[in-house]
Every structure is written in C-alpha cells, then in structure tokens.
C-alpha cells in the first residue's frame, strides 16, 4: 500500500528535466565540498614522526614523553608493524622507523634511494612458551627437530616428546611478525619455511598480549612469544631449547638461539632533533625504559 502511494507521488510530481538539473547541481555541490577542503590545509608541523613495530612503540612513546619537557615534539604510530614502518621510511613519510626485526636485503632493494641507518636500542628474547601442565608433565626441554615437528603439525601429542598424554595445540604468529621470523630463522636457518599444517589444532595469533591470553586459556598449547611477557605468569613456561634456557646470562652471551634486536631506523645518520631523541634512548636514563616493558637493555646485551 505504501509502495503504491509512493510511486503515485513520483508520477504526479516528477519532472524529468528538472530532476536531471538537480542531480547535476547536487554532484557539483558535493565535489566542490570535497575538493574545497583540500586547499585549506596548511603546512605540517615540525614534529618528528616515528612509526612501525608495536613492540618498540611503548618504549618510543615513553622516551618521547620524557623529551616533551625539552620542547621536542614527537609522534609515535604503529601502522603495519616493522615492515610497515620500514616502507613508510622508504617513501619518506616518516623520520624514524621502529623495527623489531633486522633490515633485510629485500627492504634495501625495495627502496634503493634510501640510506637505511639502523641503531639498536635494546633486545628481546623470544621463547617457545608451553603451559606449566605440560612442563610439569615431563617436557623439560626441546630440540630444534622437536620444535620443528611441533610447529609443522607432525608431533600432535605431548607424550611424543616426553610429556603428558595431551593434544598439542599450536598458536603461530601472523606472517610478517618479528616473533615468527625469529622462530623460522631458528628452525630453518635461511631456508623457506613450509606451508602451515592443515591440522585442526593450529591457529594464528597476532599481538603478544593476545598470544599470552590464548596460551593461558588453552590446554596443551605452544607458541612463540617474547619472554618478557610471561614474567609474573606462573602458568606459562619458556622451555629451554637445545638445553639452553632463556635466562638473562644465556641471552646476553648469545648462547640462547632466539634473540632479536630492537631498532630505530633512519634515512641517513640521525641529525638534529632526531639524533637528540635516539641519543636519549641510548643514554642510561632512556635505557631504563626497556626493562619496564619486558625487554633487554644494550648493556645486558653487552653492547
């Protein structure tokens, strides 16, 4: 009934020509409104723009906060993780790329005009994390082959590696995450990792916090995760690899195989305010920020 009256209304009052003119003027109005805004912008502020890894961002923000008093204006964003930061630096959109993975040859090739200069500000140990139930059940350490078997879905029950009779549930990190690259490097060296297994007990996780939550709530789970994130969580255990536990001493001496550096990357040597900012993070005062977020200082790494 309502449709009927509507079409009747249209028929009674519709005048095609005027309609066309109205549409035209409306489109003109809309496009004018949209393009009009663009011209009114003014030149950007002189803030230093840092962007990239979500792992480094908290440290970068705390340092920026400390420098605010000295009149330095720094914005920190986390778009696209380490890889995103590097690509934005390559296209000249930002001043500093935050990265939790070393610069690869691929990155350099993608942006031949950019002179990438990396400054290591600290380090992060990645652990293979299992639940306390499994560790107590007998899994006191894993070999490289065992870790590979677990993440490739070939080992599906913890009793195959000396643990309790419990199904393995694998949480792997998203592709491109620094953590996953560290694990792949440990297992496969320079080789290409195989496609993920199609098992029912395999899922992908993103951020570190999400990983920790899921590890804690899944029986028999295993995942790669920064060891700083399991401090104060007794239900999770960083299992020793090849007999080496991720203790501070082992990480600093390089005996523990899964350590990753944390970087600030600039185009050319840092200058002016950018240098001031990076120097602050390298100073004793700035280095104190790293342990606060679960990472290792340069000193601990022997740098």
């Amino acid at each position: 009934m309502s449709t009927e009256s509507r079409s009747r209304a249209a028929r009674l009052t519709g005048r095609r020509v005027r309609q066309g003119a109205t549409v035209a003027s409306a489109s003109l109005l809309l496009s004018a409104a949209l393009t009009g805004c663009a011209g009114s912008g003014k030149a950007g502020t002189d803030a230093i723009q840092a962007s990239g890894s979500t792992t480094v961002a908290p440290v970068a923000s705390d340092a920026a906060e400390a420098l605010k008093a000295k009149g330095l204006n720094i914005t920190v964003a986390t778009q696209g993780g380490s890889a995103g930061g590097i690509s934005q630096l390559g296209t000249g959109q930002i001043n500093i790329a935050l990265s939790s993975k070393p610069l690869s040859e691929k990155d350099q090739k993608a942006y031949p005009d950019t002179d990438f200069v990396t400054t290591q500000i600290g380090a992060d140990a990645v652990g293979v994390i299992i639940t306390k139930e499994v560790a107590d059940g007998g899994v006191k350490g894993l070999t490289k082959a065992q870790v590979a078997g677990l993440f490739e879905g070939k080992i599906t029950n913890w009793k195959e590696v000396g643990g309790p009779d419990l199904q393995v549930f694998v949480y792997d990190k998203e592709p491109g995450r620094g953590t996953r690259e560290v694990l792949d490097k440990f297992i496969y060296g320079k080789g290409e990792p195989p496609a993920p297994p199609k098992s029912a007990n395999y899922a992908i996780v993103g951020g570190n916090l999400e990983t920790r939550n899921k590890l804690k709530s899944t029986r028999g789970s295993i995942a790669p995760l920064s060891t700083g994130f399991i401090d104060g969580h007794p239900e999770l255990v960083a299992v020793p690899l090849e007999g080496v536990a991720p203790t501070l001493a082992n990480v600093a001496s390089g005996k523990y195989p899964m350590t990753r550096p944390l970087f600030m990357i600039t185009n050319g040597k840092p200058k002016g305010t950018v240098k001031q900012y990076i120097d602050y993070i390298l100073s004793p005062e700035g280095q104190k920020l790293l342990p606060q977020h679960g990472y290792l200082t340069r000193e601990q790494m022997g740098l």
Binding site: T3, A26, A38, P175, G176, A200
Partner: protein
C-alpha cells in the same frame, strides 16, 4: 459534475497560482532535491572510489579468478592465491550469526514494542542501543574471555578459536542493530491497526501476527540487512576469535559440523591481517588481495539483493488468508508471551554481563582524574587527548553524514520507483557492508597519499562517514515507507510540490527515526579502529586539538585501546586499555541517552495517527 475533482496531469505546476514565495511554509523549497541527491551521490561516490581503488589494484597484477574462487590454497610464497576457504568462512560465520541473532532479536523487538508498558520499554530500548555502542574491539576481548572457553567446553576442543565462536560474537554484535531498527519499524505501525484487531477479539499473539507484523516487516527486514552487512564487514572482533587458519574447507557434508568448532579464516580477517601491508602496492599478491575485496563487496551485494528480493512485491499483495485454529488459543498466547519476554532477557543479560566485565577490568575509568589528564608516555596518566580526539572525529563525521544520509534516505524512500529504490537500497547496504579496513586503505591512498594530507583528522572523519550514511539512510527510508498513506494523499491533495511534501511532511515525520539511525551509525563509527589507524591517528604525541588539516593527526580511543591491547606487556597498559574501553562505552552511552531522551519526547509529540 466532476469539473474540479479531476486534477490536471501536470499539476501542481508553475501555472497553478500558489502562495507567495518566501513566506515560510509557502515557499517552493527547491533546495530539497539538490540536498537529497547529494546524499545519494555520496553513496555512489564512495562505491566508485572503493571500486576504483580495488580495480586499480587488480590491474597492477594478473589475478587468476578461477583459482581465487575455486581453490582453497593460499600461499603467497608459492604465488598460489585461492580464496574458497575464506569465502566459505565468511558465509558460515554470517549464517551462524543470523540464525542466532534474528529470532532472538525479532522476538525481543516485538516484546519491547508490543508487550511491555512504555515505562519499562524505554529504558530497556536504551540499554539495547547501548549494546550497539560497545566497540567491536571490546566484543573481541570479551569473546576471548567468555566465548572461546564456552566453545571449547561445548565442542570438547582445545582453545575454542573457531568459526562457531566467531559466529556467536557476531550474533551478539548484530543483535542490538536488529532489535533497534525493528523496534522503530514496529513503533511506526499506527495504533489503529492494533485497536481494530483487538476489537475483533484476537489474542495478543494473533494481533501481532496478523495486524502488526505485516506492516512492520519491511523495516524489520532492513534491520536484518544492516546486521548482515555489519557481520560481513566486521574484522577486528572476528579476528580475535576465529583462529585465522588458512585453507580449511570441509571435504564432505558430514565434516561441516566438525569444522564449525575448528579454526578458520574469513575474507575480512585476511584483509585485516598484516598481509595488505606485506603485499606492497602492486603485483600479483596485492592484486589477489584486491580480488578478495571485490569478492567481499560482491557478497554484500548478493546478500542484499537476496534479502530485499520480493519485499516490494509482497507489500502490495493482499495478506494471505490464514486459517488459524482456535484450538488452545489462550495457552498459545501465553506461551508466546513467555518466549518473547524470555528473548528480551538475553540482550539484557548480555548488557549486564558486559558492563560487569568492563567495570571489573576498567576500574581506572571511574576516577575523574583519568578523564581529564593527558597521557604520559606509553601507558601512564589519563586519556584526555584521546577523548577529545574521538569526540572531534565523531562530531565531524556526524556533521557530514547526517545531511548526506538523510538526503539519501529521502530519495530512496520517496522519490524513486520501486525498482530504482531497490537498486539504491542495495548500493547503500553494500556501502554499509564494506569492510572498514577497505575504507581505511582506500582513504589512505586517496587523502593521505594522493591529496598529500598525510595523517589528518579530517581524513579520518571522512573515512568514517560511509560507515554512518547507510544506517541513517536505511532507517530514514524504512520510516518513510511505513508512513500512513493518507498523510501522503492529504499532502498531495493540498497541491504540495514534491519538494514541499518532503519539507513539510516527510522530514517532520521521519526525523526521530533518522536520529536513531545517526546514533546507531555513530555508535558503530565510534568503535571503528581499522580505518583510523591508516588515516588519522597516532599512538602518541599528537596535540589534543589539531591546528590544521595537513599532517594533523589526533589520538583516538579505539586505536589507543587496539595498540595497548595488542602488544603492551606492562600491567598498567592493560588497565589503561580496559579503562579506555569503559570510557568509550560511557561517552557513547551518555550521548545516546541524551539523544534518545530527546527523541522519545518528540516521537511522543509527533504521534500523527494514534
């Protein structure tokens, strides 16, 4: 006689003498159609920009469409791009969400509108709109806490990351939308239909079934469509509970059920993951991702066409004569009452549970200092700047989206023929169903790179506009459709031009519904994370109020929560994330209650026909 009753075919044209222009209501109101068509054009412009972005992407590398649609192997390393498993995942998750949410949502809407006294119904309706205000990232966090363990117990599977968990989270998310829009549709049914039905001696169940529902059905269906569009486009919440495992496809029909409790992948979670960043901006990888975007848009369009199919035809057809038995009329009536009121309990329980979790976790937000101090470093201090930034983005979005969405709704509701209306409606829902991650990426390319704005708050607001417009437009159009025909007839009989009809009849009648739409749309926009990260916000260091447009980022609550909840190890960061979530919910709740209060007053005053 018959000499005055016949209207000239051209009437009311300029030849007919009319009241002098310029005197308020008597004026021609020519602006109406320019404004209304701007609205509908903005919808088309959004789609054009999106399609342009995706088509350019596809053109940058060859896409093997057959593989994309029929193969389930996704392995960028080997240049194998098969999307079937993701299409399957999206379909299953949405069907699950609808199967769970629609019956409960409709029953709750009927209970709210037809069973409860207004004194009780109004606060309840407000609470349900509050549920729509909870940002999707909070649904995701709560999904991890509550729904995953539930699925793990139910299916006896470790973890609980699964298609089923994603379906349940989506069902919870879209239910408020379905209820709110359906209640609007039911409230628009004139009371005289009910009175007539009751006076025939029908029970309440029979009144609802034979007198109210046939009138309200188009509006209620619009609610489901909005819900479906939201389910198809939602990324962040699904992202956290689906497990994101590629290449999972049941091989036989029997496997379908066991695969429900297994990890999977949808089109949106693939696009919201890190891969668009890793794929660069050209080449086969990027082209394949853009292909997925096109498939997603097509699915939204197909679902919409399928959902709106026949709705116009059915509205004209006379109601089917039902032979309902008189057997057990009263018990049946009582049973239905119990079921409907029971259905209402579910959203209520959800709200209470969610608020409980938020209060328990985000206690920091209860301290006013937290609201009014700027943040310090990564996770210290308060969140003043984030609050200001969010409000700025929302206000700007509302200013742009309200006129455009209202205009689009008016065109869809009044002007177009039935066929055109359906096409326009489909386009509008397609815009609403666009995954916001795509809007963000397209906005990033258009504003931030091509137009050189850098990170800009205005770009963020503009990217949020397409989220709000469809909701405003569809609720407005739904309300216009449910306008009693005699109002339209009376207006035309008085010789009003179509623009005058819109200005003096349609707008006064529909604006409360439009306001609901705007609020629901803003509630959704407030929680959007993905588009802002690319275009408008930084995590730290932006001034509370930007001073220009180019390179003028802000900080906003959803992106703040997102960044904190992803990777911060410090306990105070988690406290701040939950505190920010509670603040975001409270702000939206405050705005909603204020507006709903206003709307209730005016809707009461504007009861035209009862």
């Amino acid at each position: 006689m018959g000499l005055t009753l016949e209207r000239p075919t051209q009437a009311p044209g300029p030849a007919v003498p009319r009241p002098s222009p310029g005197s308020g209501r008597g004026s021609r109101a020519r602006w109406v159609w320019g404004w209304a068509y701007s609205g509908i054009l903005s919808v088309m412009l959004t789609l054009t920009v999106l399609l342009g972005y995706l088509v350019t992407g596809i053109a940058s590398g060859t896409v093997d469409w057959t593989a994309l649609l029929t193969s389930s192997t996704w392995s960028p390393g080997n240049l194998a791009f098969g999307g079937l498993a993701m299409i399957y995942g999206s379909a299953v998750v949405c069907v699950l969400a609808l199967v769970l949410a629609v019956p409960v949502g409709w029953a709750a809407a009927v209970a709210l509108s037809e069973y409860l006294p207004p004194r009780l119904a109004r606060p309840l309706r407000l609470s349900i709109e509050l549920l729509a205000a909870v940002p999707s990232i909070v649904y995701g966090l709560i999904g991890i806490m509550v729904i995953r363990p539930f699925v793990a117990d139910l299916g006896d599977v470790p973890g609980g990351d699964s298609l089923l968990a994603a379906g349940i989270v989506l069902a919870v998310m879209i239910m408020p939308t379905i209820v709110a829009v359906s209640v609007d549709a039911l409230a628009a049914v004139p009371g005289r239909y009910r009175e007539a039905a009751y006076s025939l001696g029908l029970t309440r169940r029979e009144v609802v079934r034979s007198a109210v529902l046939p009138q309200a059905r188009p509006g209620m269906r619009a609610g489901v469509l909005l819900g479906l569009a939201r389910a198809l486009g939602e990324a962040i919440a699904v992202f956290m509970v689906i497990g994101r495992a590629d290449d999972r496809l049941p091989e036989s029909l029997g496997d379908v059920f066991s695969f429900l409790v297994r990890p999977g992948q949808t089109l949106t979670t693939k696009l919201a993951g890190p891969e668009p960043m890793l794929a660069g901006t050209s080449g086969p990888y990027f082209a394949a991702l853009c292909g997925l975007g096109i498939i997603l848009l097509t699915l939204v369009a197909v679902a919409t066409v399928w959902g709106t199919r026949g709705s116009t035809g059915r509205a004209v057809r006379a109601p089917r004569a039902r032979r309902s038995s008189a057997w057990l009329r009263t018990p049946k009536d009582r049973l239905t009452t119990a079921v409907r009121l029971g259905a209402l309990l579910l959203p209520g329980a959800l709200l209470v549970g969610m608020l409980g979790i938020l209060l328990a976790r985000g206690g920091a937000a209860l301290n006013p200092v937290f609201w009014f101090t700027p943040s310090e470093g990564a996770s210290g201090g308060g969140i003043r700047d984030q609050i200001v930034g969010t409000l700025l983005l929302l206000a700007t979005t509302a200013l742009i989206a309200l006129p455009l969405g209202y205009g689009a709704g008016i065109v869809i509701g009044t002007r177009a023929s039935a066929k055109t209306a359906r096409v326009l409606e489909t386009l509008t829902v397609a815009v609403g169903g666009t995954p916001t991650i795509l809007l963000g990426l397209a906005g990033y390319v258009l504003f931030c790179t091509t137009m050189g704005w850098g990170r800009s708050w205005l770009a963020g607001a503009v990217v949020l506009v397409p989220v709000v417009i469809p909701v405003v437009a569809l609720t407005t159009a739904g309300r216009i459709r449910s306008m009693p025909a005699e109002i339209t007839e009376a207006a035309l009989a008085l010789g009003l031009t179509s623009s005058q009809y819109v200005r003096s009849v349609v707008i006064p009648y529909t604006w409360p519904a439009t306001l609901t739409g705007l609020l629901l749309g803003l509630a959704r926009a407030a929680g959007e994370t993905a588009p802002l990260i690319f275009t408008a916000t930084v995590f730290f260091g932006a001034p509370a109020l930007p001073t220009g447009i180019v390179n003028a980022p802000v900080q906003a609550l959803p992106t703040h929560i997102f960044t904190l909840s992803q990777d911060s190890g410090a306990p105070e960061a988690i406290a701040q994330a939950w505190g920010s979530a509670l603040v975001l919910v409270l702000i939206t709740a405050g705005l909603l209650s204020l507006a709903v209060f206003l709307r209730n007053r005016f809707e009461g005053a504007r009861r035209w026909t009862t």
